[in-house]
């Protein structure tokens, strides 16, 4: 007797494990092993993938509104192999939904819900709900835009349930609004409550299944009996292997799973749920006003009630499809409806220009957020990180505060613009153009300063005979000075001309503007970041666009922003405008 079998005997004497193993593996499969029976085991296999990867993810994930996104970003982009585990978990979740649908379809077609297996079926439906619960709670955990907005819609749907809606919603959210308590709740449900319930229900489901055995199809040869091991187990293993392979491939293909920009409650985000909820999403569009609750609560409940009642509706003992068609028609309709609604939702989004535009914008933000977070996320959270990033915050501030009047690098509207195009502002070329034609359409042409600055080389209509056009060479020197050229000699000459000729109206280092018009800006430091910063804060000062910049006759002129924008935002915006204007 080999050492191994002696040890095995020894162990069996003390544990009785052989009997247990035999019980587990020698289950008779009436009608013989079949591929149709793999889905239950496939679900169990996929669930194991989820449990293992989920437990691993828990070791790096931190649920709070300041840390959730950052920790998921860390897992996805920094931690060695983090993307792999996260990707497996995310794609595993999708695989579970698909395999679940297949399992449900198989047992329905085979009539496996019939007496005496009603309770097996009901426990299975409860497991179905658990899996959807996992999907829903898991979607929020990264606390990115996608998960945040989709889940908000879901909890708002809970809020539409008559009578108990408000309490249900607050219970789910951990309060009246979304916050850290929403995350801790969803996390606790996702990693403890649902797994505990799921394991209990799976044990019940499998025990009941073992008690009654498989439901062979009506045509099966009932005399043929295979044992679960090895013939059916082999098929199951092949199925799980196939699923795991697909999960791996999808993960590899996407290098993990996508991560959207961090959740931002004040943003506008075109929320869409994960694909397997798209049909429910689409359904919501069709029930208007007081009928809303039909789409959010009534129809899903009716579908659930039908599935629950199926064993009671279809009571003939025969499992042959003939004679059961009536009971299964609603199932077919639900399936077709789900597919149809999903396709319709995708089709509408594809053809919705506004949605596509918002989607592109959201993707850009995601890309940038993911890039800058690689430098680390501050303890104040990813939103604070994004607020401090010039590349993100700059255009946002510009669009919000400047783009109504100005244009810069495509931001703003050419049609509605009432102030200068800032592309090239502060450069030599810009100064040259300004000297020659200040009222050009891209300069003062549309602003309240139109007609205030004379050209230096085109005589005005009522030009005095003393008008002497500035030579091209002098113009070049002025441009070199104001545009901060590297040619020091030329710039020095330009400075002399500015001090001498431009200070009739302009100030230079506080001097000039002989007739005290208070209209033409200070030129020392013009074109620099501090000058832009000062102008943004308040145009009506001696060091910027001068004292009368906010007077009534300058209506439509640039307002002051020192009350609306924080010092940090002013710094950032000034720097961004300066940099963008000079971009070649």
């Amino acid at each position: 007797m080999s050492l191994f079998s002696r040890l095995d005997d020894l162990l069996d004497e003390r544990t009785g494990h052989r009997q247990l193993l035999r019980h587990l593996l020698d289950e008779p499969v009436t009608g013989g092993a079949r591929w149709a029976y793999v889905f239950g085991s496939a679900l169990l296999g996929t669930f194991l993938v989820q449990a293992v990867t989920g437990a691993a993810l828990m070791t790096s994930y931190a649920p709070s509104d300041k840390t959730a996104w950052a920790s998921v970003h860390y897992i996805q982009f920094t931690q060695t192999g983090g993307w792999l585990v996260r990707g497996l978990h995310q794609h595993g979740a999708q695989a579970m939904v698909i395999v679940l649908a297949a399992h449900l379809l198989q047992v329905s077609l085979f009539g496996a819900y019939k007496k005496p297996r009603e309770i097996t079926w009901w426990v299975g439906l409860a497991l179905f709900a658990m899996v959807l619960g996992f999907a829903l709670t898991g979607y929020l955990l990264p606390w990115d835009q996608k998960g945040y907005w989709a889940t908000r819609v879901a909890t708002n749907i809970a809020g539409t349930i008559p009578i108990v809606g408000d309490a249900t919603q607050k219970l789910m959210q951990g309060g009246a609004e979304y916050g850290s308590l929403t995350l801790t709740r969803f996390y606790a449900v996702h990693v403890f409550v649902l797994p505990a319930l799921l394991v209990g229900l799976v044990v019940t489901h499998v025990a009941l299944f073992r008690k009654h055995g498989v439901t062979p199809s009506a045509k099966a040869n009932l005399k043929k009996i295979d044992l679960f091991f090895p013939k059916q187990v082999l098929k199951d293993v092949v199925a799980v292997l196939g699923i795991v392979a697909v999960i791996f491939l999808a993960t590899w293909n996407e290098h993990g799973a996508p991560l959207d920009a961090p959740a931002d409650p004040s943003s506008d985000y075109p929320a869409r749920p994960e694909w397997y909820f798209l049909s429910l999403f689409q359904l919501l569009k069709y029930f208007h006003g007081p009928l809303e609750v039909v789409g959010t609560v009534v129809l899903p409940t009716v579908i659930g009630a039908y599935l629950f009642a199926l064993p009671l509706l279809d009571r003939k003992p025969s499992t042959a499809l003939r004679g059961r068609v009536g009971a299964l028609v609603p199932l077919a309709l639900i399936g077709a409806g789900a597919v149809g609604l999903t396709l319709q939702a995708q089709h509408q989004d594809k053809n919705d220009v506004a949605f596509q535009k918002q989607r592109v914008h959201a993707d850009e933000r995601a890309t940038i957020a993911n890039r800058i977070a690689k430098e680390g996320v501050p303890p104040e959270g990813p939103l604070a990180m994004m607020k401090r990033d010039p590349e993100l915050r700059g255009p946002e501030l510009f669009d919000k505060h400047c783009g109504g009047c100005h244009m810069l690098r495509g931001h703003g509207s050419e049609k509605e613009r009432t102030a200068a195009v800032l592309d090239g502002w502060g450069t030599e070329a810009w100064v040259r153009a300004m000297l020659h034609e200040p009222d050009a359409d891209t300069k003062f042409g549309r602003s309240s300063y139109k007609g205030e600055m004379p050209s230096v080389d085109v005589p005005p209509a009522n030009a005095p005979p003393t008008f002497k056009p500035m030579t091209a060479e002098d113009q070049g020197a002025v441009a070199a000075f104001l545009g901060a050229s590297a040619d020091a000699a030329k710039a020095a000459r330009g400075k002399a001309i500015v001090v001498q000729r431009c200070t009739t109206c302009h100030l230079f280092e506080g001097k000039g503007d002989d007739s005290d018009l208070g209209l033409a800006p200070e030129l020392s430091g013009w074109g620099t970041v501090p000058w832009v910063r000062a102008q943004l804060a308040n145009p009506a000062t001696k060091t910027t666009y001068r004292e009368h910049a906010l007077d009534a006759e300058r209506k439509g002129h640039m307002p002051r922003f020192d009350a609306d924008l924080s010092a940090a935002d002013l710094d950032l915006l000034a720097k961004w405008v300066h940099e963008q204007a000079r971009k070649p």
């Binding site: 708002n156 951990g174 075109p270």
Partner: protein
């Protein structure tokens, strides 16, 4: 020989019936279960009674920054209390404002249907549109088409030292009545 009879064997002390023992076991177990489950359930259910933030007047931008009749999205910036944290001056949400002369109307940007963020319609003159479930609203916030059960939620505004101040509130989603959360 003593004629005295041996004393009778002592009688068994009376035993409680099996029923009583069972009852005791059941009651004891229930007490243990209740002692843990009730506090835990109360703990988890705590948010049910919670109230949302009461309305608060928040200053936004200056009146002159608004173009007559043109909807503008403004961020509501104030302190945010979230469970155990307090944050100073963060964006709580956003509001659509439209200027009419020296008055401003404001609408919550939260869609009354299911809480997505409402945007201006692709053609701005067409009012507002929700990117989620096709709810559409007129420029004055009236429900135009789509599933929303009520109009956009109007918020009170007033002008304070040239600034547009808004009474920032949130309302229950998905119900025909406008009720604060």
């Amino acid at each position: 020989m003593s004629t005295s009879r041996p004393p009778p064997p002592p009688a068994d002390p009376p035993q409680p019936s099996r029923r009583v023992v069972t009852l005791a076991v059941v009651v004891g177990s229930c007490a243990i279960a209740a002692a843990t489950a009730i506090p835990a359930a109360a703990f988890v259910a705590a948010p049910i009674g919670s109230k949302g933030n009461p309305g608060r007047w928040v200053r936004t931008l200056r009146l002159e920054q608004l173009v007559e009749g043109e909807p503008k999205r403004v961020a509501i910036i104030d302190d945010r209390r979230d469970a155990w944290t307090i944050e100073r001056g963060v964006e709580l949400g956003s509001v659509w404002v439209v200027r009419h002369g020296n008055e401003v109307t404001a609408f919550s940007a939260v869609c009354p249907h299911l809480g997505c963020s409402v945007n201006v319609a692709p053609e701005a003159s067409a009012g507002f549109a929700c990117p989620c479930h096709t709810s559409a609203f007129e420029k004055d916030g009236k429900r135009k088409s789509g599933p929303s059960p009520r109009d956009l939620d109007a918020l009170a505004t007033r002008i304070e030292e040239g600034f547009v101040a808004i009474d920032f509130k949130r309302f229950r989603i998905g119900v025909p009545e406008k009720v604060e959360t």
